[in-house]
């Protein structure tokens, strides 16, 4: 009924997890409802606070995919530069990789006994 999945080191039950999440969510909602009651819709309170700067137009404020994780890829550019470079899109290179790996595996299997 509880759907216990044995992992060898413990168990997992999604049903128990869902019940726990529901209980915690109920407590969170209860505490939230006990909080600040002075909120009013369609007033200054609805506007985003950007340290006093004027708000951009809605269309202009969307962050495109290229800008997300810019810092991550910039910090790892020594890893990314060679990695991107080997993805040439050239079918000769694709075939070359297959041949190289086949040779390596043939050697490994051959010498492993």
């Amino acid at each position: 009924m509880l759907g216990l999945l044995e992992t060898g080191s413990g168990f997992w039950s999604a049903i128990i997890w869902v019940v726990v999440v529901l209980v915690i969510s109920s407590i969170v909602i209860y505490i939230r409802n006990k909080g600040e009651e002075s909120y009013k819709k369609n007033t200054e309170q609805d506007k985003p606070f950007i340290s006093g700067n004027p708000e951009l137009s809605k269309e202009g404020s969307h962050i495109a995919a290229s800008h997300i994780y810019w810092g991550f890829t910039e910090a790892l550019k020594d890893y990314y530069n060679p990695l991107v470079k080997i993805h040439t899109g050239n079918i000769n290179d694709y075939s070359g990789w297959i041949i190289i790996i086949t040779i390596i595996i043939l050697i490994l299997v051959g010498v492993s006994g």
Binding site: G3, W17, S66, L76, I91, Y94, I98, G110
Partner: protein, 522 residues
């Protein structure tokens, strides 16, 4: 009825095969009937696959001998080895067959409206059916030469389907060409390995070869040819480069089926290493080769995905990354295959995680590719930089994407979490570092899908997509069906592992059962 059930293995393949040749004639009478006929044929195959699965899981492996007096007559009197072509469908084969049946059926339903604006749909549906035939054949056959034939059928159909939109576009045609070249290389190597087996043993039947295999130098060469090319067809790094090209250029429902086709090659890799060679090979060496393929695929796949801007290329790199989990789990099982204590302690669980992940991945990656197709259907672009705010107008697609993204990132309570947990906790006992890398990859996967979710769905409604609306019902149905499977597998993973995954894993490990079904002695 019972007689019909005896013929289920061949009917599952024959019905889509006959339908593939019927479609052009149907198209001459009524264009709209092409898609419906395809869906109907694949629906029958799905029903028969489910019936056969129930039979196999309750009775045991089923054989189907072509041209024999009885479909189960593997050894005519006086013969020690089988001479006829046969299907041998065990728990692992039918596990893969279920994936193929579900994915191709839902792919056909999704295609009904998604492909509506294209011409030449008789060819499209015929090829879709032939691709399905090839996949079923690879999974059911008990004959290594037949495996080569079905691999070729699947590859040729895939090439044409990848290039389907390419009559006036360069990129699909280029992607199809690249897939054709790598498929040809792999087919040649498989054929060479088949020749080695036939030259040595005068046998082509998997079980018969397995019963006499000596692991000679020639057998090692055959193994050294089969492992890399099957790993390549599954999309393992560093032979993965065809994958983003092919997956991104194929129509979305075909991409979903191509994922399952890659998994059919992965299945063949496991069938060769476990059922054909088993402990006769150096399990530690070949196990580590597969583990290293898994690690490279997981890490390089996910890190390359993060920097992509094309939604389907991004998802294709994630497909590579997820294949790494399967290779890791099953690789650990292979590495300890000759060590019964370790196999019992964590090897079987690692394999259960890897094999369960095959099913889970087919479902959630299929769903994600279908949501990418839905976005393309309404926006006409795959460029994430050009998308935004689509959750305002495509609410169902947004929900389906969230389910798929949470599943692939391994968030509870979805199915990806269950299979990844099995892998983490078992692989940790083999080598903790492997497990830690797998967890880091999962975090990066989540980060990558947060990027997709933010850039495609969140934000204000963009002016260019003011008219965008939800996709038609047949597309929603296919995505909803996959979402239901993901949620069900996530909530009740124990049912799937106990009834489907564990028997599949044991059928790989217990080679004597595989050979015994054909040669007797069971």
């Amino acid at each position: 009825m019972n007689n019909l059930l005896n013929h289920a293995p061949i009917l599952i393949v024959a019905i889509p095969l006959l339908a593939a040749f019927l479609i052009p004639i149907v198209g001459k009478v009524n264009k709209k009937a092409e898609g419906i006929t395809t869906t109907f044929a694949l629906g029958i195959s799905l029903a028969l696959t489910i019936i056969l699965a129930i039979k196999i899981l309750s009775v045991g492996p089923q054989v189907y001998v072509f041209g024999a007096k009885s479909p189960s007559l593997t050894l005519p009197s006086g013969l020690k080895f089988p001479i006829r072509i046969m299907f041998e469908v065990d728990a692992m084969g039918i596990f893969m067959g279920l994936i193929t049946a579900i994915v191709s059926f839902l792919g056909a339903i999704y295609s009904l409206t998604f492909m509506g604006k294209y011409d030449g749909l008789d060819k499209y549906y015929s090829l879709l059916l032939l691709l399905t035939v090839g996949m079923f054949g690879m999974e059911f056959t008990g004959d290594i030469f037949n495996f080569f034939v079905f691999l070729e059928i699947a590859s040729i159909a895939s090439v044409a389907l990848i290039s389907f939109r390419g009559t006036d576009l360069g990129e699909p045609a280029e992607a199809g060409f690249k897939y054709m070249v790598v498929s040809s290389i792999s087919a040649l190597m498989v054929l060479f390995a088949v020749g080695i087996f036939y030259g040595q043993y005068d046998l082509l039947n998997f079980a018969a070869i397995a019963s006499v295999i000596k692991y000679s130098q020639l057998d090692k060469i055959a193994l050294g040819l089969l492992v890399p090319v099957l790993a390549m067809k599954a999309g393992a790094v560093p032979m993965h480069m065809w994958t983003p090209d092919a997956y991104s250029e194929a129509p979305a429902p075909i991409t979903m089926i191509l994922v399952a086709a890659s998994q059919a090659s992965l299945y063949a890799l496991f069938r060769v290493t476990f059922s054909l060679y088993n402990i006769s090979l150096s399990t530690l060496t070949v196990g580590w080769v597969i583990i290293i393929f898994g690690l490279l695929s997981m890490f390089i796949g996910v890190t390359m995905a993060i920097i992509q801007k094309d939604i389907k290329r991004l998802m294709a790199y994630h497909a590579i990354s997820q294949t790494g989990y399967m290779l890791l789990g099953v690789g650990v099982g292979l590495a300890v295959l000759a060590n019964p204590a370790a196999l019992q302690k964590y090897g079987i669980t690692a394999m259960e995680g890897g094999i369960f992940h095959i099913m889970n991945h087919a479902m959630y990656k299929g769903l994600l590719f279908l949501t990418a197709g839905a976005l393309f259907y309404r926006t006409g672009t795959r460029d994430l930089n050009k998308m935004g705010g689509l959750a305002h107008s495509m609410k169902y697609t947004t929900i389906f994407f969230i389910i798929g993204a949470a599943a692939i990132a391994g968030l509870p309570p979805f199915n990806g979490f269950a299979s990844k947990l099995l892998i983490y906790e078992s692989v940790y006992r083999f080598n903790p570092l492997l497990s830690i890398i797998a967890m880091v990859v999962s975090i990066l996967t989540l980060a990558s899908f947060v990027k997709v979710f933010h850039s495609a769905f969140l934000g204000p409604k963009l002016p260019q997509f003011k008219e965008a609306k939800e996709v038609p019902r047949s597309m929603i149905f296919a995505m909803a069906a996959l979402s239901c499977i993901i949620i069900f597998f996530g909530l009740f993973p124990n049912l799937i592992v106990k009834n489907l995954v564990h028997p599949a894993v044991m059928s790989l490990i217990e080679q004597f059962k595989y050979t015994g079904t054909v040669l007797g002695g069971m």
